[in-house]
Amino acid sequence: MIDVTTYIRPGSLEEALDVLASGEFTPLAGGTDLIPHARGRGPRKMLDLSGLSLDRVTRTASSIEVGACATHSELCRDAVVTKALPLLSKAAALVGTKQVRNRGTLGGNVVNASPCADTVPALLNHDAVAVLVSKDARRKVPVEAFITGPYATCIGPNELLTSIVCEPLEKPTFVSFLKLGRRQAVNISRMSLAVCLMMDGKGSIKGARVSAGAVFPVARRMREVERLLAGESPSKRLFAEAGALAAQLMVKESGVRWSTPYKRPVLAALLERALAEAASGNFGEQ
């Protein structure tokens, strides 16, 4: 039995925000996080978002706006996302199982804010901004600030996440997304890395974006590593240094835990591999 006392499915955003203004309702997107956790956790009033048409992807001159209710399967398939935000579609392709990707949404992944949410490192590399609306206000918060802790965000009880705006990176940018877990499917990340290398015309790295999931309490950009890479030419030595720096940052921030002897060398090696893969251009270019 799941503790649902009320279910409503409004047909418009206005209606949904009116209902939400009471502060009593829980937004329900794909339910792949919410429903397994709705058992024995106290009663809930569900506000189903599926009637709000929040699943669209739109392209503007400088950015791409992805509707919060776009499913992982849609992110894998959508022509605009696969071309301009290849990291995001790759991350979505690695979520859970076919059944979960068909149902789970980008918005749910971000609002649930698990430290191992797979789309988050990809979004951070694109300077993604969350669009939050309530009955009488609308605000934009960078995803990096939106997620405030493990399973915690700054969303209000009367707010909906309607979309996420991503900035495509200038060309040529080489990307890579690696996810490490215990097995291949139904795989909750032990660690995930999103890497973008923006190249100048002469084969050097003009700038880099590197984000890590499930490494820190909250997924985040590793700007220290990005600074190390900027202006250098790709080499095995450089990438090994970057890996070592990432491992240092992890220990500094998360402290030494039971998993540290495993995670330290693994993070270093994984980042080295992700950077090499990106630099090879084999993984994807945008």
Binding site: G11, G51, T97, K98
Partner: protein
């Protein structure tokens, strides 16, 4: 707003949906999953209840033409949806099995049978996307279905066999009118 105006005070919601090609109009409990409603509400026990957290795939149904876990859907969410379960897979009014079921039998892909309905529904969903899937595509499509006895080799072989025999009319009824 869909559903009755009094939905804020009652524990049931009126929904219309299609199940295995038949239209239903029912008042469903808001705190039941689709899985429970299929089994205990309508008596369709073919869809199996395994983990109830989306891991095992035993409750996979075809939902508007794609594979979903019925344990992760609330019963009131089915309004307007076209659902197919294992009970509707074999051709109606004819004898015999659907080619996917037949291939599972012939290839020894059924042992205790608990996971089989879920695997069959995931396989049909895969064929609705691609008629000639590679081994990798089959693995990806079935990764959300667990089998604890037969093992996966026979199941992969069964899907290959089914693919080689499938005709358009074997898929026609499963194509959702909503997509």
């Amino acid at each position: 707003m869909k559903g009755p105006q009094d939905s804020a005070t009652v524990a049931r919601v009126q929904v219309s949906f299609r199940l295995n090609g038949v239209s239903f109009r029912k008042r469903v409990p808001v705190d039941w999953t689709l899985l429970r409603y299929l089994r205990e509400g309508l008596g369709y026990y073919g869809t199996k209840c395994g983990c109830e957290i989306g891991d095992c795939g035993a409750c996979t149904v075809l939902y508007d033409g794609v594979a979903l876990n019925a344990c992760l859907i609330l019963a009131p969410q089915v309004d307007g949806v076209d659902i197919w379960t294992i009970e509707g897979v074999a051709p109606q009014g004819e004898r015999g099995l659907h080619p996917v079921q037949q291939a599972f039998v012939e290839r020894g892909a059924v042992h205790c049978g608990f996971c089989t309905p879920g695997f069959v529904m995931s396989t049909i969903a895969l064929f609705l996307e691609t008629r000639n899937p590679s081994r990798q595509e089959i693995k990806e499509a079935l990764a959300g279905n667990l089998c604890r006895c037969t093992g996966y080799i026979q199941i992969l072989d069964a899907v290959k066999t089914a693919a080689s025999r499938l005709r358009d009319r074997d898929l026609k009824k499963f194509v959702s009118r909503r997509r």
